[in-house]
């Protein structure tokens, strides 16, 4: 289903937030301002809420934190409309295949095992996400890529440096490189991903480069171009989606790459 169809299906294009009545536009906001608690601070909080488009803004809670900070909770009506037609979503633009179908397609069309190299790069040591995708155990009742007979999976684990990753991709003749990034403080995930894609661009000519895929719970899936990767997977990804995408991008629709 494309975004347009989805919009049409819903039968309406413009909506507002819903508190308890259609169109009431109600939202909840909380934040801290670096000012001591007094009336002026409360006024400042209302000002911020107004700038966010909340009007009238009900300041319902203000609590001093330490010396120079105040925490606020604001409720109110936001004036923005949400235009569903303008929503840009990375919809799944490839068919979801079963493990059997994935294996069959790789075997028939590629005629060799598809090589996948995975890692958590940088100083990130959160392997649970990439393991969920790669290890046999899988997640949410789906087996991971290791379970697919026609995929050859090399999982490098955590805290892999970018040069190590590039080298492993070369050695394993990787068709695809799967990188996980979970720590996002100070945009660590973005920095690391950019460093990774730059390294591959530098190390290999365009045609020889493996498909670059990153995943993690806080990515914006629309940022592929900005990050120089082929695809981004977010919260709640399942191995089946990843396998289907691999087949789509590397086997059935090579130009997609």
């Amino acid at each position: 289903m494309t975004a347009e169809q989805a919009g049409a299906d819903a039968g309406k294009k413009v909506v507002r937030p819903y508190g308890d009545t259609t169109g009431d536009g109600m939202v909840q906001v909380s934040f801290t301002l670096p000012v001591p608690h007094d009336k002026r601070a409360e006024g400042a909080a209302v000002q911020l809420a107004n700038r966010m488009g909340i009007d009238p803004a009900m300041l319902v809670h203000a609590k001093p934190i330490g010396d120079g900070f105040t925490f606020f909770v604001v409720y109110g009506r936001v004036n923005h409309l949400v235009d569903l037609a303008a929503v840009q979503v990375v919809e799944r633009d490839f068919p979801l295949l079963s493990a059997k179908e994935v294996n069959a397609l790789v075997k028939q069309r590629l005629r060799r095992k598809l090589s996948v190299v995975g890692a958590c790069i940088g100083t990130d040591a959160h392997t649970v996400g990439i393991d969920a995708i790669l290890n046999v155990k899988g997640i949410a009742g789906e087996k991971g890529l290791e379970y697919y007979r026609e995929l050859k999976v090399t999982n490098l684990g955590a805290q892999v440096s970018v040069p190590e990753l590039v080298e492993a991709a070369r050695v394993e003749k990787a068709d695809a490189v799967l990188v996980s990034q979970v720590v996002t403080q100070r945009d660590a995930h973005l920095h690391n991903t950019r460093e990774m894609s730059a390294a591959f661009r530098e190390a290999m000519p365009a045609g020889k480069r493996p498909l670059l895929i990153v995943g993690g719970p806080r990515f914006d899936e629309a940022m592929t171009d900005e990050l120089g990767v082929d695809r981004i997977f977010g919260r709640g990804t399942t191995p089946g989606e990843v396998a289907s995408y691999l087949v789509h991008a590397l086997v059935t629709d090579r130009k997609a790459k």
Binding site: G19, T21, V60
Partner: protein
């Protein structure tokens, strides 16, 4: 009573014909004999059968009323009995219907039942919200009515889309919501109950309409109107009796309003007034023919959370109620007074409230909302609140097995103290009278003298020959017995 006789509809100004009729009767013959005799006498004289038509004529000033005597009186009494009896049979049928549906769809699997309010102020917004709540796990839906309704001396007509903090309770709104919840019950395989208010100046009418539209519970307190709506005490005691007789007949569970006291009085200092009020509500309820299983006696988690050991004090109070009324489906009310705009803290307090509910085996749990101090609940507030309840009941539903108040410890001592304060207060009330105690501000620190308050005009002493066919039927022997026999509304116990 006239509602039971089938009077419905309203004049072009929205004043129901029932009210126009009563006004006409009172203007001519007063209220002392009841309205049944003059009305059915006039009906016979006019050669009519439809009381609503009579009301319309009376409103136009084209009917005369008198208190009949002799054969005319006997005939009027008979007609009245027949007409009202038909209404009561409709209530009986709705009760059988409820029992059938409960049997088909089933009761909630867990105790306490999960009770949720909707309060959008528009019945057509309330309906989807109620259905969403049911789907998310609510066992009982209470539709909140508009702020002003309790002081209206009539029940508005038709489906309504207005009101503040709730929309009006009307027969049509009752019908619409009950139908929607029947649909949800079917979808969910669990009978979803519906609640409204038999409270305020129209307490008896509300009770009748609830019975007619198969509502399942009603807020109905023997003193709430007095204390929180400044309604005349005598009127309230009379009205609550009649309304409870109707509830008894309809198999409706009443919810009493002790929680309200703790919004104005301190929940620690005045804990015993809750106990006393529960005992009074129980007494009046039994007297009106309600069975223990119909007594949703109220109490609440309203202790200031800053008080040391506040959670254990709440446990003590909740356990005391549980032990005093072992067969009543106690209604456990969430924190409201000490809720603030800090919604994160609010959701936490609600969780501990839920925990007390399950640890002490409460019957009905009114789900607390994190936005209690902010707005009437949003759709999402209700969802978050239900998730909270589900977590607590699922994760700690069996904790009561391991909860054994230390003998002679903090919890037992506290419960004993509240109980003995309650006994002292009851003795003081016994020495004076309940009306005096209320006048002196014993409950919810509200002072309400017996000769003041709203609706005083509607209070009249019974005169000789006073006749109310509804009370007569409801008080007939056997009926009381029936309600005694329906403690859990189990289908097999229903009278044929």
């Amino acid at each position: 009573m006239l509602r039971l006789a089938g009077v419905s509809g309203a004049d072009p100004d929205g004043i129901p014909w029932v009210n126009r009729l009563v006004d006409a009767v009172v203007a001519e013959v007063g209220l002392g004999h009841g309205v049944a005799l003059p009305v059915f006498d006039a009906l016979a004289r006019e050669g009519m059968t439809d009381v609503t038509l009579l009301a319309q004529k009376a409103a136009a000033g084209s009917v005369r009323f008198a208190v009949p005597s002799g054969r005319a009186a006997t005939a009027a009494r008979k007609a009245a009995r027949q007409s009202v009896g038909a209404g009561i049979r409709r209530i009986d049928r709705r009760r059988v219907e409820r029992d059938r549906l409960v049997k088909r769809f089933g009761d909630p699997k867990q105790r306490p039942w999960i009770y949720l309010i909707v309060a959008t102020g528009d019945i057509y917004e309330d309906i989807p919200q109620a259905q969403a709540a049911a789907r998310a796990g609510a066992d009982v839906i209470a539709v909140i009515r508009s702020t002003g309704q309790s002081l209206l001396d009539y029940v508005p007509e038709g489906a309504t889309r207005e009101g503040f903090a709730g929309t009006y309770a009307t027969q049509e709104n009752f019908r619409l919501m009950r139908a929607a919840l029947d649909q949800s019950s079917k979808e969910l395989g669990r009978y979803v109950r519906l609640t409204n208010y038999a409270s305020g100046l129209c307490m008896p009418e509300m009770a009748a309409l609830a019975g007619l539209e198969r509502l399942d519970m009603m807020l109905n307190d023997s003193m709430y109107g007095i204390l929180f709506r400044d309604i005349n005490p005598i009127r309230t005691f009379v009205d609550q009796r009649f309304s409870r007789q109707v509830h008894a007949r309809a198999g409706i569970i009443i919810n009493t309003g002790e929680d309200n006291y703790l919004t104005t009085a301190d929940a620690v200092d005045e804990a015993h007034t809750v106990t006393v009020s529960q005992l009074l509500n129980e007494y009046f309820a039994h007297e009106a023919g309600l069975a223990d299983a119909q007594l949703g006696l109220g109490h609440a988690f309203e202790i200031n959370p800053e008080v040391p050991e506040s959670f254990r004090l709440e446990l003590a109070h909740a356990l005391l109620a549980r032990e005093l009324f072992p067969d009543a489906p106690l209604k456990w009310m969430p924190p409201t007074k000490h809720m603030t705009g800090d919604v994160f803290r609010g959701n936490l307090l609600d969780g501990f409230f839920n925990l007390v509910g399950t640890m002490t085996g409460q019957g009905i749990l009114l789900v607390g909302m994190m936005t209690e101090a902010v707005v009437t609940p949003w759709l999402s507030d209700r969802d978050i609140a239900l998730q909270n309840v589900r977590y607590v009941l699922n994760a700690a539903g069996g904790l009561h097995e391991d909860f054994v108040p230390a003998p002679g410890g903090f919890i037992q001592q506290r419960a004993n103290r509240v109980l003995s304060e309650a006994v002292d207060l009851l003795e003081r009330i016994g020495d004076q009278s309940l009306l005096t105690a209320i006048a002196e501000g014993t409950f919810g620190i509200m002072k309400r003298p017996a000769d003041r308050g709203k609706g005083l005009a509607g209070v009249a002493a019974h005169e000789d020959g006073y006749f109310n066919p509804a009370t007569e039927i409801l008080e007939a022997p056997g009926v009381r017995g029936m309600s005694e026999r329906v403690p859990q509304s189990r289908p097999e116990e229903v009278q044929p």
